[in-house]
Amino acid sequence: MAEPGIVFWILAVVTVASAVMVVTLKNIFHCALALILCLFSVAGIYILLNAEFLAAAQVLIYVGAVAILMIFAIMLTSNLASKAIRQSNEQVMVGTVVSVLFCGGMLALIYLTDKAIVSEETGVAFWRQVRGTLPADNVASLGGYLMTKFMLPFEVVSVLLLAAMIGAIVLARKEKA
């Protein structure tokens, strides 16, 4: 595997730093802005991983829709976004311990798996032997999948979106006295 270049490290640092800002900043509005930065850099990671369509969808859906929706919700509940309100609960210590343990466990698993599961012929880990090559036309292949192999999930997910839309309308509508 080629060492990831400088671009990966920049994107990784930006991603993690802005993610930490999302979970630690006092002002919830600043958290939303940091979330947008984080989602943008994850889109950059997707481009590094040859997922151009997913990067575009990330920018359009996450940055363009979900993050803006979050900002709308923050604005509509705006008197709660002031600095005076404590934004974290009493579980900060426990949460830190749990997430550090989780992160350490995951990293240990990843590296131990890389060391442990080694193919006998080639001497490299199984999951580093790339099978096949990625299709050159990313968007066209994904569209082809949607119309052939993933037809049913595609239809189901459209029903899910419809249900979510109706659910949101029903939940957020004004009660008639």
């Binding site: 990784a12 990671i45 040859n50 996450y62 949460g95």
Partner: protein, 99 residues
Amino acid sequence: MLFYLSLAAVLFAVGLFGVLTRRNTIGILMSLELMFNAANINFVAFNKYVWADGLIGQMFAVFIVVVAAAEAVVGLAIVLLLYRNWQGIDTDHVSVMKW
């Protein structure tokens, strides 16, 4: 690939920390988005480095994006409902739904 997987693990842990410690419901939803993104990075990384024969991993990630968007919509509708009924969206105020 190890670097991408490690990045995803760290991102997921940060999101987990946010979900565990945020009082604000919108903050919890934003941390959830971080966790979804970590899962997506894993899918795409495995797609490129392990099973590059097709774009199945990217397909999964696309569906995750859709489901995350639906989840955010319904979650924020619930947040607005909470705000209207209880004048607050902190999780420790809202214990009425615990049955």
